[in-house]
């Protein structure tokens, strides 16, 4: 039995290609469909109505709609790593080999054990869980919640990495048109013909919107043909970009819209190198929302069975896809559009056995049993609709056997995107629906059914007029002829009848009873209603249910619908894959890499790298035979201190500061003084934030009268530059100062150790003897026969040390050259770990101490803050909380027993003190193993630490049980007199 419900092609083929057959499976069973089908239309064509289960009661469900508003027909599409939960069968474009499975059921869709919830529904009324499961207290996490969590959720998600790629981009246009129905097409034609840059986006894979689902004419051709011709005309315009399968998901500030293009969802897998989906950020001068309208159902008892659809969806399946959902069909309507559905179905050879029209009067449909003043009061059928109970105008009830029912409660304009800036829609009693309010996103106009202009003529006209108005066009093209039927609707929100359940939000199983209970308990604000009952919080975000829910609440409270209010829609318009929002920033490409000039050399050596921000720095370089990282680091430290070591320090920020006020400027931004620094010298600088906390530190050299080179920490290179620009432009705009970053222009190496000078003498062309180039000297030099370079005699390691810089392209070669020419000194290249060991040995502050919470005083550098001049942070650094005599001070720490272990982050306690906060003395900021001293050493912030030098305390790590007796020492634990660095 294949495609038993496909309408004979002779009655109108629909927009499917019957010449080609596509094979697919649903729950393991094979089916066939055609190109142009959705998964839902193809399943319906095969007589499959049951496609899912509801969230709470696990009620059997089929599709309610034929579009993206679908609450019921959710499936797990594809398998394995590409499994996609909660996918609406109504928008899945059929492809050959498609695999889908039902979800949220066990063991099978037809027999779902969780269907027991439906029988127990009386106990699961809205908000029941707030009133129970409280005793005994410990049972919530152990018993109740695990059961609830397992039962809840919809589809299941794979644990495998998504194998597909996602792309992003930016588009710019004069006019963005959202939706390619009659209004959108006419707007795009109007703007496109005027030569404007237009983007026309539609979520469907076929443009035309509702015209594809209708039979009436536009001009002298069927609407769908007019749409196709219009699309063809637009496609010839170079100034127009047509984007099918593209959902505009949100309106953001200043004309920026987010849109997701489903590039390859209609293919088994994306073509190699191509994305599955692309996120486009569209920068529009103006935009027109022409998103159409969504039909809403009417709440009546058991209105959720498979086979009960929106009347317009029944019509769409018949007209567009050539599918009759049932053999015997009835329509239940409160408006004239429902009658149109009945006529269209009849024209497709469907047996329309009755039209149940809740209204009285008016003309009767010819050739159809048209029951006026009647209502559907109940339905039956286990896994699909079998019959309906109708209460006629005279009060008599009648059962009618049918297998499909179309319900029309009126049409809701798709105002969603218009309310993304929190504009509240307003109620239009003429169409019994909400239309866009007045304070939508600036630059966004609304046209067509989205604006409540429901006829085809009105859509074409408002589409054209919106484009003319948005772009202030001088010419307004003529419109094709089209139907202009008035809206005739008498609101009916729910059918008052017996005690059964009438569904409002089908996915979340919110019924009229739940709204009544919310009212009874005084959750009457629409927001309370939503939150208490979960109305509108399912994957369809209430596109079909919300208005009914609030109308029912309005009835209960005796307020009007406008008085009752409405909740607003928020982005996204329909759910968006997280992969598309992330784009290419994932895995190793989450953030770009920054590689140092010595990276290639280090990789050759088998170096271990560490992430420092986006930089990859050499952490250590293991030698053959070294099995543990400490062996490598100890060797690097010892070799440096014994002879000479080289470290790539390019990552430190470098800022060129020039101008006649450069010195004065530095005096303002540094706590200490730089204007007095002689040319050819450098100085350690301490930079504060305005709140007096240490911001950054580094060495700054005076290269000329009006020329300084500042270095910053690696971490703060960007923020320091930003801060300097703030000072320069906003605080002291008349200073003659120019700034430019040179961080990446220079490859810079630290060369440290007793033989540092000897090694450099083999490289540097000039005299660098102690006399010619003393401690804290700085200057432009040349190396290796004339290459321009910079030399700074500064030391982080405490050794005789220099930093030498060459243009970055020569960095790799310089390193190799230093190693080759200095081979006799056995130079070692050391990484960040050894660097850390040596700076801790010397008591220099770095990341652990520069934590944004510490003052110069805390670091033992209080005297560096000059009060003789104004500088950033000087005044506020004098506040009492920052000058506490017994505040934290930087100290050195060593274990009393050389085998004693330390851990950074451990806290200080006095001996015998209980581990409670009142006894907390501070913490270890940095810890290393000192191969020279032969034991762990650390730096730490200790309360009144400067007064505790020589005392014994404990270092406690309560996370690991570590408890080590330590001696508090000066932070300068190695060569405290600094004899080595002046050597």
């Amino acid at each position: 039995m294949t495609q038993s419900h496909r309408i004979d092609a002779k009655l109108g083929g629909g927009q499917i290609d019957r010449t080609k057959t596509l094979r697919f499976t649903f729950d393991g069973l094979p089916y066939q469909g055609h190109p142009g089908d959705t998964l839902a239309s193809a399943l319906l064509a095969n007589g499959v109505r049951l496609m899912g289960r509801s969230f709470k009661y696990h009620r059997p469900r089929g599709p309610l709609s034929a579009g993206s508003e679908e609450p019921n027909a959710l499936v797990e599409l594809r398998t394995g790593a590409r499994q996609e939960p909660n996918t609406r069968a109504t928008v899945v474009e059929l492809f050959d080999g498609l695999t889908a499975n039902s979800q949220n059921r066990w063991p099978s869709l037809r027999f779902d054990a969780m269907g027991i919830n439906d029988k127990l529904s009386a106990f699961f009324a809205a908000g029941f869980y707030y009133k129970t499961f409280m005793w005994p207290k410990s049972f919530w996490e152990k018993l109740y919640e695990p059961i609830i969590r397992r039962a809840a959720g919809l589809g299941s998600v794979t644990r495998e990495e998504d194998p597909d790629e996602y792309d992003k981009g930016f588009l710019h246009c004069d006019l963005l048109v959202i939706g390619a129905g009659p209004a959108g097409l006419m707007a795009a034609l109007t703007a496109g013909r005027a030569g404007k840059r237009v983007i026309l986006a539609d979520e469907d894979f076929r443009m035309g919107g509702r015209l594809n689902a209708e039979t009436y004419a536009v001009g002298d051709v069927p609407g769908a043909d007019w749409a196709a011709a219009s699309v063809a005309e637009l496609a010839t315009m170079p100034n127009v970009r047509l984007m099918t399968r593209t959902t505009v998901m949100g309106a953001f500030d200043h004309g920026i819209y987010g849109a997701v293009e489903r590039v390859a969802d209609h293919l088994p897998t994306p073509a190699k190198g191509k994305p599955r989906q692309s996120l486009w950020r569209i920068y529009s001068g103006r935009a027109i929302l022409a998103a159409g309208a969504t039909e809403r159902p009417i709440a009546f008892e058991n209105n959720d069975r498979p086979g009960i659809l929106l009347a317009g969806a029944l019509r769409a399946y018949a007209n567009r896809w050539g599918v009759k959902v049932g053999e015997r069909v009835a329509i239940f309507t409160n408006n004239d559009d429902g009658l149109r559905s009945a006529l269209d179905l009849q024209a497709k050879g469907v047996d329309v056995v009755a039209v149940i029209d809740s209204r009285q009067g008016g003309s009767l449909l010819p050739g159809i049993r048209h029951l006026q003043g009647a209502e559907v009061i109940d339905t039956s059928g286990k896994l699909g609709l079998a019959s309906i109970a109708v209460r006629q105008a005279n009060g008599r009830s009648e059962n009618i056997a049918i297998d499909a029912l179309g319900v029309s409660g009126g049409w809701n304009p798709n105002v969603n995107i218009h309310s993304h800036h929190r504009s509240r829609p307003v109620y239009d009693p003429g169409i019994a629906a909400f239309i866009p309010g007045s304070d939508g996103p600036p630059g966004l106009l609304v046209a067509g059914a989205a604006a409540g202009q429901m006829s085809t003529h009105a859509a074409l006209k408002t589409g054209r007029d919106a484009a003319v108005a948005a772009l202030e066009l001088s010419r307004s093209p003529d419109l094709p002829e089209a139907e202009d039927m008035p809206i005739r609707i008498t609101p009916l929100w729910h059918v008052a009848h017996g005690k059964g359940r009438a569904w409002i939000d089908q996915q979340n199983d919110v019924t009229v009873k739940d709204v009544k209970l919310a009212h009874q308990e005084n959750f009457t604000s629409v927001e309370h209603l939503k939150r208490y009952t979960t109305l509108g919080m399912a994957t369809d975000q209430g596109k079909t249910g919300n208005v009914i829910g609030l109308a029912v609440m309005a009835e209960l409270t005796g307020r009007s619908i406008p008085e009752t209010g409405t909740t607003i829609y928020r982005p996204p318009y329909t759910p968006v894959a997280l992969g598309a929002l992330a784009g290419r920033s994932r895995g190793r490409e989450f953030r770009p890499f920054r590689l140092t000039p010595s990276h290639h050399w280090a990789r050759e050596q088998g170096a271990v790298f560490v992430e420092v921000g986006n930089w990859l720095r050499t952490q250590w370089i293991p030698k053959p035979g070294e099995t543990e990282w400490r062996q490598s680091v100890d060797r690097e430290v010892l070799a440096t201190r014994k002879s000479v070591g080289i470290c790539d320090v390019t990552t430190l920020g470098k800022i060129d500061i020039q101008g006649t006020d450069a010195g004065a400027f530095l005096d303002r931004v540094y706590a200490n003084t730089f204007s007095t620094l002689p040319v050819g010298k450098c100085r350690y600088g301490l930079m504060l934030r305005e709140d007096g906390i240490v911001f950054d530190d580094g060495t700054t050299a005076r290269m000329g009268e009006h020329e300084y080179v500042m270095t910053t920490t690696t971490a703060n290179a960007v923020t320091v530059f930003r801060h300097l620009e703030f000072c320069r432009q906003c605080l002291w705009p008349e200073m003659d100062v120019q700034l430019i970053s040179t961080t990446e222009a220079w490859a810079q190496f630290s060369v440290a150790g007793p033989n540092a000078r000897k090694l450099l003498e083999k490289i540097v062309d000039q005299d660098i003897s102690d006399a010619a180039f003393p401690y804290m000297g700085a200057g432009n030099i040349t190396v290796c026969g004339g290459l321009r370079a910079r030399l700074f005699r500064i030391s982080f390691s405490g050794e005789l040390a220099y930093e030498i810089a060459v243009p970055t392209r020569y960095g790799d070669a310089l390193l190799r050259e230093m190693l080759a020419r200095g081979a006799e000194y056995d130079p070692v290249v050391y990484g960040t770990e050894a660097l850390g060991v040596m700076r801790v040995e010397k008591g220099h502050v770095a990341g652990g101490e520069l934590n944004g919470q510490s003052t110069a005083l805390n670091m033992g550098l209080g005297r560096m803050v000059s009060k003789k001049k104004d500088s950033i942070g000087m005044v506020l650094s004098q506040r009492e909380g920052l000058t506490d005599e017994n505040g934290y001070r930087l100290v050195g720490v060593k274990p009393v027993d050389p085998n004693g272990k330390l851990t950074a982050g451990s806290h200080f306690l006095e001996k015998g003190a209980a581990p409670v906060a009142a006894n907390d003395g501070g913490w270890l900021t940095s810890k290393v193993y000192s191969p020279h001293l032969g034991h762990d050493i650390a730096l730490g912030y200790l309360k009144a630490g400067d007064k505790k030098i020589g005392q014994r305390m404990r270092i406690v790590n309560l996370l690991s049980g570590l408890d080590t007796e330590v001696e508090i020492v000066s932070p300068h634990m190695f060569d405290p007199e600094g004899e080595r660095l002046r050597g």
């Binding site: 939960p85 397992r150 990495e161 987010g258 894959a577 992430e611 709140d691 996370l959």
Partner: protein, 416 residues
């Protein structure tokens, strides 16, 4: 009326006819002893504890919209007490302890669920900082564990362990951290306050304050003037607006923080997780949605909505951490207005106007603080002195240099 499982069954069998309104809708009286401005979590908790724990009466809560419509109704529902600094940790631990007994206390199931929170570590420096923090937590009587990479992998084997830009090196865990059904917190406190005689007055916006001789006399509202002996302000993102009625400027900026929920999924994530190398944190609600968030948008805003760059940034963080969620769909975004303070920590203090008290500056950490904030604010209002755990939350800490700056970002609210 008392809620219980038996009651639910009895009502189910009798057509749910017996459920009573969870709160009244009283008209405002001419005057009260206490007016709490703000019917969000903090305001409702304050009123509840004022009545229940401090024996006070003649209390009103004035709410400009609907109860629980502020940040208590638009957050990512996380509770934890994993703070570092002495000024903060005792307070948040007090709050966590109150959460642990809350449902039994106010007879409402707010689904307090302590499934644990882990803060992932990606660098050695982060491990050092986590060690410092974990120790501080334990010193203050809270719970903390440092997890190795393998332990994290055992919990969540499908995180990105093999191809990460910033590899996971471990985590700091607080087993007692977790989530709470946020709306239920507001409703539970509201119900508890209402049943103790507190007037909860909705749709009542404060438009002015009557201050005479340095003393508050009452407030002007959209529902008329209401007199009060004491007025407590707990309005989060609207703090500057309301306090401007008293002529005050605050060390606070209002910023929008977006939050996100995915479509419902079968269980994937048990506890709460934060990514340490980007702006992303996530948990999964009992209903199945992944609830997640990231950084604030970063500019002053009262708009309760955000922009696309932050949405993308958060998704990038999510994908970097959990490569399996590429096909999971974002269902809904929303925004709340955060009262971002100058050091990232709150203020619960008197003002220079007698009888006017302030509670704010919660940044994006206000939800977890709800019980303690209410308790401590009630304490301050009733006794005119700070609760022992909230003594550091003073206005003058900025003048005195006693900031409580967990992140070390200084006077830059959008970086806290």
């Amino acid at each position: 009326m008392r809620y219980s499982g038996f009651r639910v069954i009895a009502e189910a069998l009798t057509g749910h006819k017996g459920w009573k309104p969870v709160w009244r809708d009283p008209d405002p009286k001419p005057d009260y002893d206490y007016i709490i401005i703000g019917g969000g979590g903090h305001g409702l908790a304050t009123a509840y504890y004022l009545a229940k724990e401090f024996g006070q009466a003649r209390i009103a809560v004035l709410e400009k919209g609907y109860l629980g419509g502020g940040n208590v109704g638009r957050n990512t529902t996380i509770i934890r007490s994993n703070y570092l600094l002495d000024g903060n940790e005792p307070f948040y631990e007090f709050s966590l302890k109150l959460w642990e007994g809350l449902e039994q206390d106010f007879n409402y199931n707010a689904m307090v669920s302590q499934r644990g929170i882990i803060n992932l570590i990606h660098t050695d420096a982060q491990r050092d900082a986590a060690t410092r923090r974990g120790n501080a937590m334990i010193l203050h009587g809270a719970d903390a564990r440092l997890l190795s990479r393998d332990e994290v992998r055992q919990m969540y084997p499908w995180l990105n362990f093999d191809n990460a830009r910033f590899p996971i090196k471990g985590a700091l865990m607080q087993p007692r951290g977790g989530t709470v059904r946020h709306d239920a917190v507001a409703w539970g406190y509201a119900r508890g306050a209402d049943s103790r005689g507190v007037d909860l007055i909705q749709n009542c916006e404060v438009t002015g304050m009557r201050i005479e001789n340095g003393r508050i006399k009452g407030v002007e509202t959209t529902r008329g003037y209401i007199g009060a002996k004491k007025v407590g302000v707990a309005v989060a993102g609207s703090s500057s607006k309301v306090m401007a009625h008293a002529g005050m400027r605050l060390p606070i900026e209002s910023h929008v923080l977006q939050a996100f929920v995915s479509e419902g999924l079968k269980p994937l994530i048990d506890g709460v997780m934060t990514f340490g190398a980007g702006h992303f944190y996530v948990s999964q609600s009992d209903k199945g949605g992944l609830v997640f968030g990231g950084d604030i948008d970063g500019y002053n805003s009262y708009a309760q909505r955000g922009n696309l760059p932050v949405i993308e940034d958060v998704a990038e963080g999510g994908m970097a951490l959990m490569p399996a969620i590429g096909r999971v769909r974002l269902l809904r975004t929303w925004g709340g207005i955060m009262d971002m303070s100058m050091d990232g920590s709150p203020i619960i203090d008197k003002t220079h106007i007698e009888g006017l008290y302030f509670n704010g500056g919660w940044c994006y950490g206000g939800f977890k603080a709800t019980p303690a904030s209410g308790w401590c604010f009630a304490h301050l209002l009733a006794k005119d002195e700070s609760h022992i755990t909230a003594r550091a939350y003073r206005f003058d800490r900025f003048l005195k240099g006693l900031m409580i700056d967990e992140k070390g970002q200084g006077a830059t609210p959008n970086l806290h």
